[in-house]
């Protein structure tokens, strides 16, 4: 049996049907199939500007900006007074890192359709890409004014706010996106990025994990999570190194009975703080961190360095707290070893960030 009984008489050469099929295929993340559908339709209807526009869309989704630009240019030739072609061409230029041209085409799109929020959002993004966030800000605001319920306009505001390092505004913009479209993985990722910039490492890690869970096919959030975990590890190790260095200085100056309190208390505090922060991370993040260490010799080496540093620090503290029996040189050496190893591991953790 086949499905032919249920197949209606859809006209295979119908350009309107091809347009809608391609639109759906792009949405289903099958841009290659969409391109094939559109090219087939365009063979019979080369004068259909809408098909050329949709083809440019599909090619952009397929990460083929060069071909997308060609399709968009054809669209512009066929419909020179329509803003969509300019907007698509601007997107293609951005994909090709031709930022100035992207801005020019976006400006043309806005000129042709001053009430079209998409054109304003595109212009804001193009200006942002061109390192002109101050100019992009009012454009993005205008896009929101034109379409306050469209998530993409708030996404543009968030992107510009990040460029301007106005974290609260970016945070608000991305929260607004999520209130309109809770399944927007990109907004979750960007929100976590804002949190990371504001110093909230554990919050950022949880945010990136949520972004991956929302849209597992977008891998950028997972990579961001890896970076965040490296930042977390680096901070812990630098703190550890700082404590070890402090111990070393204190020992060399012989601060007497205050030594125990001066060194043991921060060491214990550091241990408790790290433990609490680690426990605050979602299970998935902790599992991911463990899998990263299991799967990478580089990370294993860093963990080994960190552990050795911690052992040296603890032994230094222990020796110092042990009193007169501990030779001062041994304590000093342990502290120095702890300092060096912690700083080494910390710097390795921060590398590539």
């Amino acid at each position: 049996m086949t499905g032919s009984a249920a197949r209606s008489a859809a006209a295979p050469g119908d350009p309107g049907a091809a347009f809608q099929r391609a639109e759906l295929l792009v949405e289903l993340r099958r841009p290659g199939e969409a391109v094939a559908v559109l090219r087939s339709a365009l063979a019979g209807h080369p004068g259909r500007a809408d098909l050329w526009g949709q083809l440019a869309m599909a090619l952009l989704a397929a990460d083929r900006p060069g071909e997308a630009y060609q399709a968009a240019a054809t669209r512009i030739r066929l419909a020179p007074e329509d803003e969509w072609g300019y907007r698509l061409a601007s997107l293609a230029h951005s994909g090709l890192h031709r930022r100035e041209q992207a801005v020019q085409l976006a400006i043309e799109a806005v000129r042709l359709a001053p009430q079209e929020w998409r054109a304003h959002a595109r212009l804001a993004n193009a200006l942002c890409d061109d390192n002109r966030p101050d100019e992009a800000w009012p454009v993005a605001q205008h896009a929101v004014m034109l379409a306050p319920t469209e998530p993409e306009t708030h996404m543009a505001v968030g992107a510009v706010a990040i460029e301007l390092r106005r974290w609260p505004l970016a945070d608000t913009a991305y929260r607004q996106v999520l209130s309109l479209d809770p399944s927007n993985g990109a907004a979750r990722n960007n929100l976590a990025l804002v949190a990371l910039h504001r110093g909230g490492v554990t919050g950022a890690a949880a945010g990136f994990a949520a972004a991956v869970a929302t849209d597992p096919q977008v891998d950028v959030a997972r990579r961001n999570l890896e970076v965040t975990l490296r930042v977390f590890a680096g901070r812990v190790l630098y703190c550890q190194g700082l404590l070890a260095a402090l111990l070393s200085v204190l020992l060399s100056n012989r601060f007497g009975q205050f030594l125990d309190i001066a060194v043991v208390a921060p060491t214990v505090a550091l241990g408790v703080l790290v433990r609490l922060r680690w426990a605050a991370l979602p299970d998935a993040v902790r599992g991911y961190a463990r899998s990263l260490v299991r799967g990478s010799r580089r990370y294993q080496a860093q963990v080994a360095l960190g552990a050795a540093s911690f052992a040296a620090l603890v032994s230094a503290v222990g020796l110092a707290a042990g009193g007169v029996l501990a030779p001062a040189q041994a304590v000093d050496s342990s502290a120095l070893i702890g300092t060096v190893l912690a700083l080494l591991a910390g710097s390795r953790a921060f590398r590539r960030h």
């Binding site: 499905g3 249920a6 006209a11 949405e27 096919q217």
Partner: protein, 474 residues
């Protein structure tokens, strides 16, 4: 020369060596008269002059198949070869103007048989003269005549030259697992995948076969089954096998079917699909790529909006199928498959709909052996060690393995065309193909890893997580 027509034709070829149609025509005649090696040689020469000539390729395939299936030509020389002085073409004799005969459809060969333990040599007819395309020293009839040639002695002589087609006595016992177009297949026809079969039996087939027992234990029979896993790993085949197990017809609906009539009344089309299934009950309605039909969210444009009606209709139909009180069940079993279950609308996965899931993973070692055997069964082989290839193709999907076989065959074919001598596929071809290929399941596994680690709070992907752990991917 025993056949004047063939001699004349060969002479004509010698006179017009660039006349490809003539050359192919003569190759066809030679094939019809049972001289496949010589026909293959003509085809090879033709392909050297016209790379990719479809007719030449078809004739070459016929010749190769004839070499594989039929007794090898007797070690007697073929009709005179074009270009040989003794067979000079008549100067005023025009070449036969008729176009080359189109190659008849290639007849499917029987399933590969295991090589007899006592005779590891290739099947009858796969002798070195045929493979090498070398003419035998003496003149005589092209086809072997019983009693005139000692085949055993000849096989003994060539045993060291050409290895047996398959290494390992049990290699031929594997079952094919793909490309079956009938719902009459059963789970036993699926090679490997023991865990999938077991889970199918427990979650779906057992309750269906024993409805009273299932009801006794409070197990609902309503609801369908969602198969998920990387692309090209046999989900459709497993669905067909389920239909076979249930003794039901198999009605497959794919994304192409949905998109084909996307512009029409989509709700009406979905209803028509279910009506057709009901009319043909007992029937397994298989919704392939169900994520396309029941996608969970809009991402880019407005395409999804147009499909909302279809999804609502699908939900309604699934409820009506699953509702025994309405008497609408009528023996329709809904099976669905997707590569991306995380993109399926959660409404579709609620109880009574697609509430049971089964993970169909890349084929395991026995399944890979079976798939490789199936895809190599009609090809000329020499020394192919299927278990060894299967060991080196972990994570390859069934489609990847088919592609591997095609690539190895292409390499052997290219070498045959280049050298003008037909030779079978050997392990070096497979090695070359393997160097060029990577398993296509990689991106899927990456996404699956993200899902299993970050989106498995409900435990719905525990089986996937267990698999990834077993592969040390998490």
């Amino acid at each position: 020369m025993t056949d004047p027509l063939v001699s004349s034709l060969l002479a004509a070829v010698a006179a017009s060596p660039d006349d490809i149609p003539l050359r192919l025509h003569v190759a066809g005649v030679l094939l019809d008269r049972g001289w496949p090696a010589q026909a293959a040689e003509l085809c090879s020469t033709a392909l050297q002059r016209d790379v990719g000539n479809a007719e030449a390729l078809a004739l070459l395939a016929r010749a190769t198949q004839a070499l594989t299936a039929a007794p090898a030509p007797a070690p007697t020389p073929p009709p005179a070869q074009p270009g040989q002085p003794a067979q000079r073409a008549q100067p005023d004799g025009p070449a036969p103007p008729g176009p080359a005969q189109p190659a008849p459809p290639v007849q499917p060969a029987p399933p590969a048989q295991p090589a007899p333990p006592a005779q590891p040599a290739p099947p009858a007819g796969v002798g070195p003269p045929a493979w090498a395309g070398q003419p035998a020293p003496s003149d005589g009839p092209p086809a072997g005549r019983p009693g005139e040639f000692d085949w055993s002695a000849a096989e003994e002589q060539v045993r060291d030259i050409i290895p047996p087609p398959l290494v390992g006595a049990g290699a031929g016992e594997a079952r094919p697992v793909d490309e079956v177009q009938s719902a009459t297949i059963r789970l036993a026809d699926v090679g490997g995948l023991a865990a999938v079969k077991q889970r199918l039996e427990i979650a779906f087939l057992g309750p269906m076969r024993n409805p009273d027992l299932a009801r006794l234990y409070g197990k609902s029979l309503a609801g369908g089954l969602l198969l998920y896993g990387p692309p090209g790993c046999g989900k459709t085949f497993v669905a067909r096998a389920v239909a076979g197990e249930l003794g039901a017809r198999f009605y497959a609906v794919s994304l192409a079917d949905i998109l084909d009539h996307y512009l029409g009344d989509t709700e009406k089309n979905v209803k028509a699909i279910f009506d057709t299934a009901r009319r043909n009950a007992p029937c397994v309605l298989f919704l392939d790529e169900v994520d396309a039909l029941g996608h969970r969210r809009s991402r880019i444009g407005g395409g999804w909006t147009g499909m909302r009606g279809a999804v609502n209709q699908l939900l309604h139909e699934m409820d009506s199928v699953a509702n025994p009180a309405a008497g609408a069940r009528a023996g329709v079993f809904v099976l669905a498959a997707t590569n991306h279950p995380w993109d399926v609308d959660p409404a579709l996965r609620r109880p009574g709909r697609l509430d049971r899931t089964i993970l169909v993973l890349p084929p395991d070692q026995p399944a890979r052996e079976a798939i490789l055997h199936y895809h190599l069964r009609h090809r000329p082989l020499a020394g192919i060690d299927i278990p060894a290839i299967a060991r080196r193709t972990a994570d390859f999907s069934g489609a990847d393995l088919a592609h591997l076989c095609d690539s190895a065959a292409e390499i052997a074919l290219e070498a045959s065309v280049r050298t003008g001598q037909v030779r079978p596929i050997d392990m070096s071809d497979v090695d070359s193909a393997l160097r060029q290929l990577a398993p296509s399941t990689g991106p899927w596994l990456q996404t699956a890893r993200n899902v299993a680690m970050f989106a498995n709070s409900g435990g719905e992907y525990d089986d996937l997580l267990a698999y990834l752990k077993s592969k040390k991917l998490v």
